[in-house]
Symmetry: C2
Subunit: 222 residues, 2 copies
């Protein structure tokens, strides 16, 4: 009997993710994987970011959900090219699904591609999709101990965005503790504090993202 082990599945996924990355590189598309719990505010953050992106940066999104096209409808309303991927109950996007999503987009016309992953603080962490940057959105209302309780997610995060900071006064969330724990898991992690509801702090994140994309584009001689 042959047993399919997770490691082999992940190896196959990583190969397709590398293909996705190469494809985006050829097209000049900088891809950002956005991860977090259900309701962390991933889609709301994209809606707010849209306001702060300069006119010459062309965004798009791939929306991952078990069911419905609610999130894609929200992003499409921003005027962005949008693809909805329904996993049919699956708990994460994989590189294969994203490859199918890329087929539906005109990458040559996209500078910043956001992949709005399934709400899941565990399984999504293991699957590379072909992204240049990985952002974990952690909402204040989830509690500051989530960082140490879900280490794989934070070990692999380039950026942690603390969302729902407007609710900080009503919780006992300790931002410094969460940051310390995240740094302990991955010393290079960048932090941003935002409220997708009020818009606070989203401009700073938008500027930083645009800068990352521009630096990458310059380094690739675009």
């Amino acid at each position: 009997m042959k047993v399919v082990v997770a490691k082999d599945i992940l190896k196959a996924n990583d190969q397709i993710a590398a293909d996705n990355l190469a494809r985006c590189d050829r097209a000049g598309t900088y891809t950002v994987n956005i991860l977090g719990s259900p309701g962390a505010g991933k889609t709301s953050l994209l809606e707010r970011l849209a306001v702060h992106l300069p006119a010459d940066v062309k965004p798009a999104a791939i929306e991952g959900d078990l069911a419905t096209s609610r999130d894609a409808e929200r992003i499409q309303a921003l005027g962005w090219p949008t693809v909805q991927i329904n996993t049919g109950g699956g708990c994460h996007l994989d590189a294969n699904m994203v490859a199918a999503g890329l087929d539906e987009l005109n990458l040559e016309d996209i500078d910043l591609l956001f992949i709005d992953n399934v709400g899941n603080l565990v399984c999504t962490a293991s699957y590379k999709l072909g992204e240049r940057l990985r952002i974990v959105v952690l909402s204040i209302t989830e509690g500051d101990e989530k960082v140490i309780k879900y280490p794989p997610m934070f070990q692999r995060a380039d950026v942690v965005v603390f969302n729902k900071t407007d609710l900080l006064p009503y919780t006992d969330f300790d931002l410094q503790r969460a940051k310390n724990d995240a740094k302990h898991l991955h010393s290079a992690t960048e932090f941003f504090e935002v409220s997708a509801r009020t818009g606070a702090g989203v401009d700073v994140l938008a500027d930083w993202l645009v800068h990352q994309q521009a630096q990458w584009a310059a380094a690739s001689h675009r």
Copy 2:
């Protein structure tokens, strides 16, 4: 090549879950599987429930987490028999892990056993553990559209507990919409509205749980 399909894994799991259930039945232990997103407030709810359980009902808990024993320490502080299961990165508890947890408990001395699952609104839904009752904790701050976006979880819920109702004024969560959507997925679902932070509504849930356990015990001629 043999491909191990999810259905077979779930079938094997269901058999072990049936064994767990029979084992708890023999001991007179009514078992409750508590599910929800990271930070929904599952452990906080248990802490509050502890206050409202009558002295003659003996509780215990199995705590499931990827890492740390934070939650088990919180429950142990209540004086409950407690077992921590670390999944080592795994995204859900399965019946096998719970069987190992049952080995560590004196079931004959436990009336109500809570299984505090890994924070995950997707994967945990598929795994029966041997429970008599399945409670999904959904926090107000996650957003009311989570019900239709994560249907497998709500199709299999006996009870939905809306938590963090103290934050209702600061969100646009529509309780009626969430209940309608949940009823559409599973018409027999019971609803409770609580704040594990302030304690509001937890007494009603505690009374109902104790009543369920007593009814079940009476029906089993205990």
